[in-house]
């Protein structure tokens, strides 16, 4: 497929852009942060997102969704990233809907997908156990006892953990940390006995939590997919999540780049606008090149997912690694080129910088994806 948006996708982008710019500008995140919002997201905004059909964007129309697919989702995330919109799109519309679609039984799909599309159900993926993403290293135990599973252990960096109604928990029914086999997924009610959820406050002012499981009983029927064989479906949805994060990061770096470029054309020192200094000009031009490359790798990753190409993992790792590097470069340059004011909370540079580091860690940083890219390439 050509690396350009279709007419329909272009319309979706324009709609998303208008919505996030007008309804969810950066001031929305500032408000959530400064008012120490207990939920960490704006319910009214989420309701609007539901009405626009973004919550069910992956979900087929028969199940209440809009079925735009990965490219549509990526387009929406890019626009959300541009304004740092803090919404449950990532936890629920991407990972939640994605995992249920990929691994759920017909009954689970029929029950849960319409609830996601209608905004009634929020989900959170409880996957990470250490400070570095590495799904194979999951060690948390899921012991089978008749028709019950007993979950014990702790998960960290659970995005939207404290607002989720249902957790999707990745745990081990067999094997040892490091094995790809033996992982299972379970749908666990956030209010289930033995589940303790502690919200954590991250540098990006967005939601995350530590979730601990103290002998939590889950019926085997609440497993998502077959026991011990979750890896394939999990990885495919993680790749969707990674591509969407890359798209969100792209929106962020575009915003930083545009703002910085405007500042270079406006700020005067030594009697001239600072954009006349070649030391800055060339770096702006380099950033432009970087943004262009980022646009290509993100669109390719989303297209690979859309077309179910067999090189999805490589395309996705290419995008996530590159965006991690580019976001670091451009967010740092954004601060530096603003000078003193870039260090203040009065401008948005710092907010993008902080968000960029969290996005980069989510579902694997540059280091993780570069090494995965090589492995997949057989070197």
């Amino acid at each position: 497929m050509a690396l350009v948006l279709t007419e329909e996708q272009t319309m979706l982008r324009d709609m998303a852009k208008q919505f996030f710019t007008e309804q969810v500008p950066v001031t929305n995140l500032r408000k959530l942060r400064d008012e120490e919002s207990a939920e960490g997201y704006d319910k009214a905004v989420w309701q609007q997102i539901v009405e626009l059909g973004f919550a069910g964007i992956l979900i087929p129309e028969e199940q209440g969704g809009t079925g735009f697919g990965p490219i549509g989702l990526g387009i929406v995330m890019q626009e959300a990233g541009r304004t740092l919109a803090a919404t449950p799109l990532y936890s629920t519309a991407i990972l939640g809907a994605g995992l249920i679609l990929a691994a759920g039984s017909d009954a689970q799909k029929a029950e849960l997908l319409p609830q996601i599309a209608s905004g009634e159900l929020l989900t959170a993926l409880a996957l990470e156990e250490t400070a570095h993403h590495n799904p194979k290293q999951v060690a948390m135990s899921a012991e089978q006892n008749g028709d019950q599973i007993i979950l014990s252990g702790q998960k960290n960096f659970v995005i939207d953990g404290h607002i989720a109604d249902k957790l999707i928990v990745v745990a081990r029914t067999s094997g040892a940390a490091g094995d790809a086999n033996g992982l299972s997924m379970f749908l666990v009610d956030a209010k289930a006995k033995g589940v303790t959820i502690t919200r954590t406050h991250m540098v990006d002012s967005r939601n995350a939590a530590i979730v601990s499981f103290d002998k939590v009983n889950v019926p085997v029927s609440d497993a998502l997919g077959p026991l011990g064989a979750a890896m394939a479906e999990l990885e495919s949805v993680l790749d969707l999540g990674r591509a969407c994060l890359a798209a969100e990061m792209l929106g962020g770096i575009e915003a930083v780049f545009d703002t910085t470029l405007a500042y270079l054309k406006e700020r005067k020192q030594f009697g001239v606008i600072i954009g006349t200094f070649q030391a800055l000009k060339h770096r702006a031009a380099e950033m432009f090149c970087e943004v262009e490359l980022c646009q290509s790798v993100v669109l390719d990753a989303l297209s690979a997912l859309d077309e179910r190409r067999n090189d999805v993992p490589r395309a996705v790792s290419l995008a996530k690694a590159r965006l991690g590097d580019a976001a670091r470069l451009i967010s740092n340059e954004g601060v530096q080129m603003h000078g003193g004011i870039g260090m203040t909370d009065a401008v948005d540079m710092g907010l993008y910088l902080k968000r960029a580091r969290v996005q980069s860690q989510l579902l694997g940083d540059t280091n993780f994806h570069r090494s995965r890219y090589a492995e997949l390439g057989g070197y």
């Binding site: 991250m202 003193g340 203040t344």
Partner: protein, 397 residues
């Protein structure tokens, strides 16, 4: 025993006896001994330590004894530093007066001014801030507009400073003011202003790290006695530049890293903790390479600092060394924190509250703060311009 050996023995004994135990532990940020009229000492030992060191002039070891300094030779000062490091003694006093203003006063101030101000600085009685930058004059510092009018027996100062670090907690401000508007560099004077004077107002500005260490400082019809002018009228730019060199040297020391968790020694241990070990090696090759590169850069920088110190002692100077160190040291420090983030993963991205320990949270904030290192005291771009012009002799466009 040489004289220096004797000095070392005596110093060691004195420090052992006089440095309180709690002053031999890593210093939490809030216990930083800034001094000043409103100094607060959450740990009372901080005050004891400051007073004892100040009584010997050892807060400013190399300043002449007649102005309250320690009167030590370079060699003696180095020995004092070594002996303090030996017992992990904290710095007794952190102050812009010590690092920036004092050295400039020693060079440019009148005898009365030295007598008055240097002693106060040594004893940590007055806390100084730096009134250089203005909204329209940052990199182009000489473009400053804050005006001091000659009113016969005093100057009347009007204007606005910005990014004034700690202005809301400081007692006095050293300011660059315009005393002649018909010329640029030759119309600037160096003025000392008591911040208790009516018309001085400091408003804190919040930083991306969440703290508010710097301020907007408004000066409205501020009456300043004429004797507060340092050096000659309209000759302030020379003093300003010299002071900037002291500031740049001070900031570049950051490249060496502070103590504690973020220090260099901790880096490889943390990498092993996070990524495992393969024999003695950090198991992840990319992280291992990044840590190695960083440590080698760090060592090369440390050697260059040492070489500059040795050359200075031998009476040779490295040209524009301050700009080179400022540029390299601050960029190195920023890279160090980015690497720490890579090594520590999500544990370096906490903001407050549960899930992160104090060390981790302090690394997050320090990472954000480090972004200012290549802006304050003249940006990296300005340092490179200075090197290109003054050291390399490359012409302007």
């Amino acid at each position: 025993m040489t004289e220096l050996d004797t000095f070392r023995a005596e110093t060691r004994a004195w420090l052992e006896e006089n440095c309180p135990e709690s002053m031999r532990t890593p210093m939490p940020e809030r216990e930083t001994p800034w001094g000043g009229r409103n100094a607060d000492f959450p740990n009372p030992d901080t005050k004891v330590w400051l007073d004892r060191m100040a009584s010997r002039g050892w807060t400013a070891p190399e300043w002449p004894a007649e102005y309250g300094g320690g009167g030590l030779s370079k060699d003696q000062a180095r020995i004092l530093q070594q002996e303090m490091s030996r017992i992990n003694a904290r710095t007794p006093l952190a102050s812009f007066g010590l690092w920036m203003l004092g050295p400039a006063l020693l060079e440019f101030a009148s005898e009365e001014q030295k007598k008055k101000y240097l002693g106060e600085i040594v004893r940590g009685e007055i806390r100084w801030c730096q009134g250089y930058s203005e909204p329209g004059a940052g990199s182009d510092l000489a473009g400053l507009q804050t005006k001091a009018e000659d009113k016969g027996d005093h100057y009347l100062v009007n204007g606005q400073k910005v990014w004034t670090s700690y202005a809301d907690q400081c007692d006095w401000i050293f300011c660059l003011v315009r005393t002649d508007s018909s010329v640029k560099h030759d119309g600037i004077s160096f003025l000392l202003i008591d911040m208790d004077t009516p018309g001085v107002e400091a408003r804190p500005i919040k930083l991306i790290s969440g703290a508010s260490p710097f301020c907007e400082t408004f000066l409205t019809d501020v009456v300043v006695p004429k004797e507060n002018l340092v050096g000659e009228l309209n000759k302030g730019w020379t003093i300003a530049k010299r002071l900037l060199e002291h500031e740049r040297t001070m900031i570049s020391a950051m490249g060496m890293g502070g103590g504690g968790a973020a220090s260099m020694g901790g880096m490889e241990a943390m990498a092993k903790e996070n990524f495992g070990e393969d024999g003695d090696k950090i198991a992840n090759p990319a992280i291992r390479e990044a840590v190695t590169n960083h440590k080698m850069d760090h060592q090369a920088f440390a050697l260059t600092l040492k070489r500059a110190a040795d050359e200075a002692k031998a009476g040779q100077g490295m040209g524009a060394a301050a700009s080179m160190f400022k540029y390299y040291g601050t960029e190195l420090n920023k890279r160090r924190f980015e690497l720490l983030l890579d090594v520590m993963g999500t544990q370096a991205l906490g903001w407050e509250g549960e899930g992160f320990d104090a060390r981790e949270l302090s690394i997050t904030r320090s990472w954000l703060r480090s972004k200012g290192n290549s802006i304050e005291g003249g940006t990296s771009e300005v340092q490179l311009n200075v090197i290109a012009k003054r050291v390399l002799g490359l012409p302007d466009a």
